[in-house]
Amino acid sequence: MRWRPALAGLLFVCIADALELGTNSFAAEPPLPSPGFTAVFLRWVSVPKETNRLTVEVSGLSRDTLSALQAPEWAATNWPRLLAVFVEQPGTEPLSMLGEHRIESGLLRFVPAFPLEPGLRYRAVFDAGQLPGAPSTTAGKVTSILQIPVQRERSTTTVTQVYPSADVLPENLLKFYVHFSAPMSRGNIYEHIRLLNAANQPVNLPFLELAEELWSTDMLRLTLFIDPGRIKREVKPLEEIGPALVAGQRFTLLIGGNWKDANGHRMKHAFMKRFTVGPPDREPPDPQRWGYQAPPIRTREPLAIDLAEPLDSALALRMIHVVDESGRAVPGQPFLTERERIWKFLPQHSWKAGHYSLVVETTIEDLAGNNIGKPFEVDVFEGVSKRLERTTVKLPFELR
């Protein structure tokens, strides 16, 4: 098949659309306009209702040319040379951005695979010399540059809570949970977190710095483990440089204000949690020591359980359940008070008289990572056989 696109002379017009993006700049190298020839337009078009989603459109190509671009002879590898979008990055060789070329509604379109990023400049280049059948002398490129405006900085995100919320924490504290008011950004987070000693000097490498970064799916909560090498006895880091937290001393957990949230805005302000360190806790939580306050029947008063010590906030909310006589879960909402020492349960329906049980998963942890029946560190040569193998503990109670 032969095609004869009308390429002898083209009028190139470059239009940067008046998008809702603020300032658009454009640059073009149009050949001399020759009246009577086809006009080719290159423009950025925003995708309705989608932030920073734009496509590049080339209009004015003849029907023959468009057909040629859809013909099997036109190899997919030719597309980037004909029409491409580049991020303008000083000092680096331009690499065309991933996207899809389409012929639709009499237009040639390039649809970038990703939204364009605020603050970056993008250059769309259409090279007529690459059109099928174009003579090598065909005048060349039309360029349109689009600057995506920088977002106005809105520093509104804050740390809403750090657990454990107590002011005195055990020397072998295992983790902090840091809760944010809005989704945060991932990557190099440890630059923004410091543990300061009483002299306000940063403790060297107190945390387990995992590249995976232990976020909740919604990026609202970060789990921060204290380096277990500095908690566990008889491992090298503890022997070499000692524990991260030292009993009897004061420390501050500092979350820096330069940390950016998911929208790229810095935090409203830094956050500090000051606390004192107490002796290590090597005792497993013991549900037999828990007390409870029975709510009156025919009310929706919460059931209150005194856990005898603060427990891990996330696990206490997940691993303690209320079941009725037949073992069915009682619907309701658990919450913690008194610095995670009191577990409360607000039932969905009024309490009825009868027998209930509290079911506790033994993998629940206290602040030092001790499980029910199993301390964080087990002395392998004493009493291992006594270790609890059950997965739940049941505590019956009656409401009258």
Binding site: A113, F114, E117, P228, H321, E377
Partner: protein, 368 residues
């Protein structure tokens, strides 16, 4: 990250087993679009099958890349690979996170698990490096794939038939490896401090339960501790396949893979302690001068070359072991700033390491 070649070569049985099922690796796969929510650690199995840990979906996804043509075995050098990946994805280099690097042993092609963006809406992308050093996004629109959802999916935060709430628990996958006919997956929860290692049979069954084991390592004193595994590698000691696992609290622990049974509590043997300020990042095993070596990249010491001489068949610790000084190692001074490590071929490693400024460079280096 881990190639099964060493094991296959060393274990006649594995070779036979591999050959018997070689044609069936893609059995049960469906062709279509792969929906990834995230891309964490990656590793290759046989026939160009790539395993991707999708932490956000709590799943392992196997895709048949079809990339099985043997490569030219050329040296690899791509400077500023983070900038180049960023350009390809139309963004700035600081919006790119490279979670892992894996070399396809069938073609020697490097693959990168990349995340574009840093917020909740970050997009996972799989990128491969072609023979000429150019980058290509691996299309996941129409590809043969299979998926194993990790068991013990977290329970909802609200109990009974109460209102559903978003559940903050997530299990991050810290490493994975393919061994014979299983995918080994090490996980770390963002709530419980525990170590799970799962062996999921491949091809994935309809319900891929896998097996979950609790692994303890006797420290050199008398305390046994549970701790998450940071990185691991299957490795032959004599005729017994072993797993070498680097823990977050720095010991390097060995235990026999035959003990990986459902519900088992395994005690490993501490064979070395990396010591303070060492965050183990990645491990490979290789053969040189007739001996097996372990190469471990970590955050502080650079790359450590560790002899496997002392790694005789591991036994569970039943009596106190007085202060193990640890297996001998040598720090490879020239390999600075290594963040990702895999084996390119029998004689070369492939690394991503820090270059000038914020640049990350992909390069092949002769195995030390």
């Amino acid at each position: 990250m881990k190639t099964p070649s060493l094991l296959a070569a060393s274990l006649g049985l594995a070779l036979l087993a591999g050959a018997a099922s070689a044609a069936n690796w893609t059995a049960g796969m469906t062709e279509g679009k792969v929906a990834l929510k995230s891309a964490g650690p990656i590793t290759f199995g046989p026939d160009g099958i790539l395993f991707i840990a999708d932490t956000k979906s709590a799943a392992i996804v196997a895709i048949a890349t079809g990339d099985t043509k043997a490569g030219a075995g050329k040296a690899v050098k791509v400077d500023g690979i983070n900038t180049k990946v960023a350009a390809l994805l139309g963004t700035a280099a600081d919006q790119i996170l490279i979670a892992d690097l894996a070399v396809n042993p069938a073609s020697q092609t490097p693959y990168l698990a990349v995340t574009r963006g840093r917020g909740a809406g970050a997009t996972p992308v799989l990128v491969r490096v072609k023979g000429d050093g150019s980058l290509e996004v691996v299309s996941l629109d129409k590809v043969k794939h299979a998926r194993a959802d990790l068991p013990d999916a977290p329970v909802e935060g609200v109990q009974g038939d109460g209102k559903k709430q978003s559940n903050p628990r997530q299990e991050s996958i810290t490493d994975l490896a393919f061994l014979e006919d299983r995918v080994l997956v090490a996980g770390l929860s963002n709530e419980e401090f525990s170590s799970t290692l799962r062996a999921i049979p491949f091809p994935f069954q309809k319900i891929a339960n896998g097996t979950s084991v609790e692994i303890y390592h006797g420290a050199h004193g008398k305390f046994e501790t549970r701790s998450p595994i940071r990185t691991f590698v299957p490795f032959m000691v004599g005729k017994e396949p072993q797993l070498l696992a680097a823990y977050t609290c720095t010991p390097l622990v060995q235990f026999p893979i035959s003990e990986l049974k459902p519900g088992a509590k395994i005690k490993g043997k501490t064979i070395a302690e990396l010591g303070n300020r060492n965050r183990p990042l990645d491990m490979i095993v290789y053969k040189k001068d007739g001996k097996d070596w372990l190469l471990l990249a970590n955050s502080a010491r650079g790359v450590m070359k560790i002899t496997t001489d002392d790694m005789v068949n591991a036994e569970s610790i039943t009596t106190p072991v007085p202060g193990i000084k640890g297996t001998k190692y040598e720090t490879i001074e020239a390999w600075k700033g290594v963040e990702q490590l895999d084996k390119l071929d029998a004689n070369n490693a492939l690394v991503i390491r820090k270059g000038e400024g914020d640049a990350l460079n992909l390069e092949s280096l002769p195995l030390p």
